[in-house]
Symmetry: C2
Subunit: 389 residues, 2 copies
């Protein structure tokens, strides 16, 4: 009975700020900068006070009410809904903005997100309200939780410590080409292997950084898109799924069921297979997460993620799909709520052939995905294309 | 260009738990109880694992990921989005569930909310992340913020201390008839006037209690409603608006612009005027808030809220609209995120003639509304009817 929202929503603008340790910028400084960049990216211009009908705002640690965002962006009076979904906050904020446009209720919707992770009293951990009886209350931290998966993957499939070091090397190579990256430097497999252990097998260079950042995207009804740009990007698929919060209820430690289900929903809506994806922004919070996501998104067979990276397939200018041309969470950075929308903006640039040195050639379909929780608990996927599918 | 979602969504089930100081119940105990009550209320039954397509989950202080909710309710794998919007969290969660159904993407959506306010480390204030430069960081607490409005209202319009005491008396009279109320007792104007001052003119009995609670509602596509019940309730209007977060940017201290704009959107969608509303669940976080909301929702003229209550209009069995037949936040209770969905459930019962002793006779249209923030910053309104309008 349900009706797909495929092709009904168009992305007409996107903006981010340079990610990093932004002690000099406040939460709303960052958000406003991303928002203004986003407005500027709308080719034929937009009058935000008149034309933006509603806002979905994503954050983990930012202010509770949407009103603070309306005030900061000069959109007082507008409907603003605040949304949160662990590390999938940004992608789910974008998904909610798309659903709102598809409902017909609003013509133009802003999805905006920011995260100040480095200088808040109590920091992100306090803000994210990690309390019993969830696994992270019992000293299972993020790297530990994801390491439990990759160690099992190594045991079952023979993937190696080196395979995930290659993921880090690749993403830093891509991120080096991105002027907005938090860590814009190349590394080698040896850099990764010889850096301090965080939670075996993850060393410092297997873990994404703690990043401040903000991102914004504007979507509208597909039939209004040409009013704003001659190069709209269409939302062709999305999906959201959940896994158990408790470790003892998880059904697999070599795959992420919520990733499989979320991408299944998105592929089904788009009417495509994984082979049709030209490039993907995947969730490399830890290198092992990206490797397992190659498999769970169907980019290679289960257990062959190691082979996939070893053969150099996900590198820029190599095979298909290219994975994390932006540099990923590893090099570009991971300001939780903002990450997903920044990935959407990367898709916007890539699909409009505006990604400069890191442009994926002849790309028509991009996939964006966040995995959230201590180990996978939530996964949100969006698929975009530069033509209606 | 935008298309109303009027009549497209039907409410087919609703459940709450008895509100109160529920030290004996955990967050998910409360939520599960409300959810099971909600399932039982679906007249012709529902198979949640098969038929609930997605969940929107509202909370201020509860767990960050939707996955925890999916796990608790036996809905692992389903899309669950967590939403927050200060005291309007519940109404906006319901609004988002309705938008999702109206988009066509999902046939049946659960809106669920819970709030554990009394026994968390750090409590609600920590969880809600009140940090500078917002007014509440400078010792402007919730009662103080709303008192600034009612004192100005008294000065400009000659409303009195007694007028708002009558609001408290009315809501306790209604709440006495509600077996689910937190404070199920009648009070007099003298009780209110002689109780300790919290922030003048508000005394203890002008302030809603700190309440634990949970609530759940199930919506579906209107054309599927008869599969689940012969007495569906239709969503005919909704609206969301924001006011400045900073006190010095507020444009009025005798009215709440976000309430005016939010109800304007909802009335416009429903194609009705305030005179058509048979009863309303309004936001009496403080008695003065309810009084100002009489005016800003158009139930009486600006400045005549005092006369409106003095003439006994909003009392059960008296005039129209009856305001807060449930007992309101004052007597029924105010578990932040859950409050709005509990109001929706009250509308469900009233519009199906199932409200027992507190039934509003011959009611066809009910309005539900939450105001959030330190003083009004956000307002969300939903209008429901037992027939398509």
């Amino acid at each position: 009975m349900s009706v797909s929202i495929k092709n009904k929503v168009a992305l007409i603008g996107g903006g981010v700020i340079k990610f990093g340790e932004l002690f000099e910028k406040g939460f709303f400084d960052m958000m406003t900068e991303a928002y203004l960049n986003c407005l500027k990216s709308v080719d034929k211009g937009i009058n935000p006070a008149k034309e933006i009908d509603a806002v979905w705002y994503g954050t983990i640690a930012g202010p509770s009410t949407g009103a603070t965002v309306a005030q900061a962006l000069g959109l007082i009076g507008k409907p603003v809904t605040r949304l949160e979904n662990a590390c999938a906050t940004g992608s789910d904020t974008f998904r909610n903005a798309c659903i709102a446009v598809a409902s017909g209720l609003y013509d133009v919707v802003l999805a905006v997100a920011a995260e100040k992770m480095l200088d808040r009293p109590g920091g992100l951990i306090q803000a994210a309200r990690f309390f019993p009886p969830y696994p992270w209350s019992y000293a299972i931290t993020m790297p530990t939780a994801f390491a439990l998966y990759y160690t099992r993957h190594m045991h079952v499939f023979g993937t190696t410590r080196e395979h995930i070091a290659m993921v880090a090397v690749k993403n830093h190579e891509h991120g080096f080409l991105n002027p907005l990256s938090h860590f814009r430097r190349k590394i080698t497999v040896d850099t990764v292997l010889n850096s301090p252990i965080v939670s075996w097998p993850f060393t410092l260079y297997d873990c994404c950084p703690i990043t401040d950042g903000a991102a914004a995207a504007i979507v509208c009804k597909a039939d209004l898109a040409r009013k704003y740009t001659d190069s709209p990007v269409y939302v062709v698929g999305n999906g959201l799924s959940s896994d158990p919060a408790f470790m003892h209820l998880r059904t697999s430690f070599t795959s992420f069921p919520c990733v499989i289900e979320s991408s299944r929903q998105a592929y089904k809506m788009a009417g495509i297979t994984p082979k049709d994806v030209d490039f993907a922004e995947l969730h490399d919070c830890f290198t092992g997460t990206e490797l397992i996501c190659y498999e769970d998104n169907g980019f290679c067979k289960k257990g062959e993620g190691g082979k996939f990276i070893e053969e150099g397939i996900p590198y820029l200018g190599a095979g298909k799909p290219v994975v994390n041309p932006s540099g990923g969470l590893k090099s570009h950075g991971h300001p939780i709520g903002a990450t997903g929308i920044a990935q959407i903006v990367e898709l916007f640039w890539q699909l409009r052939n505006e990604a400069g040195e890191r442009q994926v050639k002849d790309s028509h379909i991009g996939l964006q995905q966040n995995v959230g929780g201590a180990g996978p608990q939530v996964c949100c996927t969006n698929i975009l294309s530069n033509k209606k599918l």
